[in-house]
């Protein structure tokens, strides 16, 4: 995964960059699987590796897939990144160790969810119970954000009157599909955009 990230910073061909970011998402999904987060794993595989790759490919087809070659490597940025990383590593020394059952995160409300959600809400999957019932307002807010983003996309590129802008219609359709995170159409959209 780190190797994928490294090559993402080096590559010049944007098409390869987008494909590699899909691979990166898929690695992340596998990692979530190992860390017991099955729901997150398949959402990441479908949405992160699927839909966002398609969206980026659509963008590339409307712009360009070649990045300009630059001469000097940005040394200031590199130094800044390493300094920030060093500070963050220093910050981890006080963190609870991996898998520690006594970590503060496990002492709060999560235990109650695990003990009671079966009888209070019903479904055996605790993540579903919390998502739809205990933290239902979060999910409502999430749909509001996705709706706002879809409206924003429509305002920015959907209603362009002049025909010089390529594929304006195709983009609109793609964003509407994204709104309901509708997975199976991802393949046909890819066919359409290529």
């Amino acid at each position: 995964m780190a190797a994928t990230a490294y090559y993402l910073t080096r590559l010049r061909n944007l098409f390869a960059v987008v494909m590699l970011s899909g691979v990166y998402s898929l690695f992340a999904a596998a990692l979530y699987m190992v860390l017991d987060a099955v729901d997150v794993a398949f959402t990441e595989a479908a949405v992160g590796a699927g839909i966002s790759t398609v969206l980026m490919l659509g963008t590339l087809s409307m712009t360009t897939d070649k990045e300009k070659v630059r001469k000097k490597p940005p040394l200031t940025a590199l130094i800044l990144v390493f300094m920030t990383g060093g500070v963050l590593v220093y910050g981890t020394f006080d963190m609870p160790r991996y898998g520690d059952p006594n970590a503060p995160i496990h002492q709060h409300v999560a235990n109650r969810f695990i003990e009671r959600s079966g009888e209070e809400v019903g479904p055996p999957n605790i993540v579903t119970s919390v998502l739809a019932s205990y933290r239902g307002y979060d999910t409502l807010g999430e749909t509001a954000v996705v709706f706002t983003a879809a409206v924003g996309v429509l305002i920015i590129i959907g209603r362009s009157k002049d025909r010089s802008m390529p594929n304006a219609k195709a983009v609109r359709r793609r964003e509407e599909d994204d709104d309901i995170t509708h997975e199976p159409s991802a393949k046909e959209k890819e066919d359409a955009s290529s």
């Binding site: 995964m1 910073t9 940005p74 898998g99 919390v130 879809a150």
Partner: protein, 127 residues
Amino acid sequence: MSWEVVTDLLGLLNYWVVIILMMAGFYVVIAQDNLVKKIVGLNIFQVSVFVFYISMGKVSDGTAPILEEGIEVYSNPLPHVLILTAIVVGVATTALALALVVRINHSYGSIEEDEIQVIEHDEEEIA
């Protein structure tokens, strides 16, 4: 350095992986001029935060948080819920950012930040 110290520090490895990924994304965002690549960098950064949350929710010898007879230890379901929401929101914001890139390319004919700045500067000179 004794063996206990080494195993103790190995417990922090997940955070260090997160930090490496996060810094890779950060570097792409601040050092590259191409706008699409900046968005990919933001995605890398975002996924590193997701991994951070999920790895904090893991309990040793625990299983996925799905109720089952005879299982006592579950991983923490709360971070899973938060990240589930965050992934979908992340794709929505990515779509918005990509729409902006398409629009910028339409107006300026370029998706390189430095070229766009040159064009803007020239337009100010004329005006």
